[in-house]
């Protein structure tokens, strides 16, 4: 589904990604872990199409198409979803209208008719249950005055509404207490299928107790330095990132 090949990216003159290779297939859950500043969020931003980052080398294919050639909105309509680490507050734009617009843009892209009000409400009610999000939150302005947990839940709710092929969760666990974490994880798990894939970016192993990955990759200095199964996350948790740094240093 997603094939990243030798991806290099920088912001201004600072090189952040230094040759990433990653293959994600339908039905898989991948986790990317790494210390602060290793390039985790940059990878998420580059995949979503943020223009602050310049891709200097490498390719990314999404379902056989060149992802890097597409605008952020085209990527989203093709089925790529980024759950933001820091969802933006947008006063004056109602959450419901925003989601309706987003859903219908994606439908239009797939050649489907826009959802009418009744079908949209029905879909919304059904998906609201998944992430235990309250109706009152959705009639407010987008993320405005939402707590940290509400913002993250709203991200997963949007994901549930948009049904992406590939969901990238950028530190979705940050700022969540254990109950909120479980709700968010339950939502993500309920949406998993053999046709979609998930890329979980996280700092801590904690989230991976709830969203169990098939593959774990360690990102360090802009490169994937180690890959393994879910047990790699546990090893990291136990030994800390210093162990990775040491391994790399010894290898040199």
């Amino acid at each position: 589904m997603l094939t990243i090949n030798n991806l290099h990216a920088q912001i201004e003159d600072k090189k952040i990604l230094n040759g990433i290779d990653l293959q994600i297939n339908a039905g898989e859950v991948h986790a990317i872990m790494g210390p602060n500043g290793s390039g985790k969020s940059t990878l998420a931003s580059v995949l979503a199409g943020r223009s602050d980052y310049e891709v200097t080398d490498g390719t990314v294919e999404f379902d056989g198409v060149d992802l890097l050639e597409m605008s952020p909105e085209e990527r989203a309509r093709e089925g790529l979803f980024l759950a933001f680490q820091y969802p933006i507050e947008i006063p004056g734009v109602s959450t419901t209208n925003f989601i309706k617009t987003a859903v219908n843009e994606a439908r239009k892209h797939r050649g489907q008719d826009a959802l009418d009000a009744v079908s949209f409400l029905k879909l919304m009610k059904e998906r609201m249950k998944l992430v235990k999000i309250d109706q009152s939150l959705l009639s407010r302005s987008l993320n405005e005055g939402f707590s940290g947990g509400e913002k993250k839940r709203n991200e997963i709710f949007q994901m549930a509404m948009l049904e992406p092929k590939l969901a990238i969760l950028d530190e979705t666990d940050s700022g969540l207490d254990i109950d909120a974490l479980r709700i968010v994880a339950d939502g993500v798990n309920a949406l998993r299928s053999k046709d979609n894939a998930t890329l979980v970016i996280t700092h801590y192993q904690r989230l991976l107790d709830y969203i169990v990955p098939d593959f774990v990759h360690v990102l360090y200095k802009g490169r994937i330095v180690k890959s393994g199964g879910k047990e790699l996350a546990l090893e990291l948790e136990e030994k800390g990132y210093d162990f990775i740094k040491q391994t790399i240093a010894e290898g040199v």
């Binding site: 909105e73 947008i90 734009v93």
Partner: protein, 433 residues
């Protein structure tokens, strides 16, 4: 012949026809002042960014009587709304014959009728109060032609259920036209009223409006005032709205500018009694070569007054904007609370805004704040919307709609609010959400 030359001829003509009396003496003094100060130039600090001389050097006809418009023309400008009164100005002259005002809460007269009636004291007390604050030639010029204006009294203890609409129609079918509407509204004790002013140029030539409206609001009364400008680049406007809060009362004024040529809006809120409350809101959303200048004065004369001012601007194309907000807090005006904010978004590289808050505080126990911003659309917000599949154009429109919504919410007349929202969404090219 330039407008400045035409004015000299027309003044004599009007003055001879309109006779002397109360208005006559106001005219004479004002004309003297006008001749002394002339049309303001950019050397005048208050007019630094708004140039009128290009206009006054042009040829404009000055009419002192109205051509009665056709029914179609009227329907063209009317909002489909219930109303307490529909009052029409044509070429700057109040035309009673085509206006509708059968409402027992209201007295509607032409100014010269009012000056000769039982309401004469109101005219004496409140007409031309704006000249105390507006020392420039434009205000004087309007006063010098005061004759066929409008007088409205909202009677004591009456709550006027529907809005009063004032429509200004300028007929520029044959030539450029200069018009000078003048109105005086008195809201008596415990009365409540909503007033809306709208403008329409009927023709392809240029119009130049120099308007003064003065509103006196008495004890425990409530005024909502809306001024809506949505003409075209041929329509120039200098207008002063002078709100005198005589007794402890509440006012709420909203100025919306969507299109026009050179526009200067002065709004003065004079808080003359203790415990007065006043709100000033404005939205200007302009494109092309439109120049829009909003100048405000909030004058706190007595203790315990509250005022809040909030103006927002969306500037596109080659448009230019000015915001100048003055707050005076006089020595007596302890415990004043006065707030002011001006926020602008530039959506084109060629648009610009000059914004300037001015506070002059002579009392020592007051709370005042002011702030202004000029910026672009928030890139993070834009990316967030696009990352959900919303195209760039639509995402921008949603953000601009949201930016404008703060001010639109202050329009408390649903019909007007929906009308404006539709206009704004058309401009943004989005469906109404």
């Amino acid at each position: 012949m330039s407008l400045t030359e035409t004015i000299q001829d027309k003044y004599n003509e009007l003055n001879a026809a309109a006779g002397n009396g109360l208005l006559g003496s106001i005219r004479a003094k004002a004309f003297e002042l006008y001749n002394k100060s002339g049309i303001p130039t950019s050397r005048n600090e208050e007019w630094k960014y708004t140039r009128l001389t290009g206009l006054t050097n042009k040829n404009f006809a000055v009419h002192t009587t109205a051509v009665v418009p056709t029914k179609e023309m009227l329907n063209n400008v009317r909002l489909q709304s219930e109303f307490a009164a529909e009052l029409f100005f044509v070429n700057g002259v109040f035309v009673k014959e085509i206006s509708t005002f059968t409402n027992d809460a209201l007295v509607v007269l032409s100014l010269h009728e009012a000056a000769d009636s039982e309401y004469k004291t109101y005219v004496q007390q409140h007409l031309n109060q704006s000249s105390k604050y507006m020392k420039d030639g434009m205000n004087a010029l309007n006063a010098a032609f005061t004759a066929n204006g409008l007088f409205v009294l909202v009677k004591k203890n009456k709550v006027v259920e529907h809005p009063i609409f004032i429509y200004h129609i300028t007929g520029t079918e044959n030539d450029n036209v200069f018009v000078q509407p003048r109105s005086l509204l008195v809201v008596e004790e415990n009365a409540q009223v909503q007033l809306v002013e709208l403008y329409k140029n009927n023709g392809l030539h240029e119009s130049f409006t120099n308007e003064v409206i003065e509103i006196a609001v008495q004890e425990n009364a409530r005024l909502e005032y809306y001024k809506v400008q949505d003409e075209n680049e041929n329509c120039h406007h200098v207008g002063t709205t002078h709100v005198q809060q005589v007794g402890k009362c509440f006012t709420h004024c909203v100025t919306i500018t969507l299109n026009g040529g050179t526009i200067r809006n002065n709004i003065n809120m004079i808080l003359e009694a203790p415990n007065n409350e006043g709100h000033l809101y404005g939205l200007y959303m302009v494109n092309g070569k439109t120049h829009v200048d909003n100048h405000s004065i909030v004058d706190n004369l007595k203790p315990n007054c509250f005022s809040n001012e909030f103006y927002k601007g969306i500037m596109d194309g080659n448009s230019t904007g000015v915001f100048n907000g003055k707050i005076f807090v006089r020595q007596d005006a302890q415990k004043t609370n006065a707030y002011q904010s001006n926020k602008n978004v530039l959506i084109s590289d060629n648009a610009s805004v000059n914004t300037k808050p001015q506070l002059e505080i002579f009392a020592d126990d007051v709370k005042c704040s002011h702030g202004c911003t000029v910026g672009q659309l928030d890139e993070d917000a834009l990316f967030y919307l696009r990352a959900r599949g919303i195209g760039e154009k639509k995402a921008k429109a949603l953000l601009l709609h949201a930016f404008a919504a703060d001010i639109l919410e202050q329009v408390k007349i649903d019909v007007l609010k929906n009308y404006l929202e539709k206009k704004i969404d058309e401009r943004l090219d989005i469906e109404v959400l």
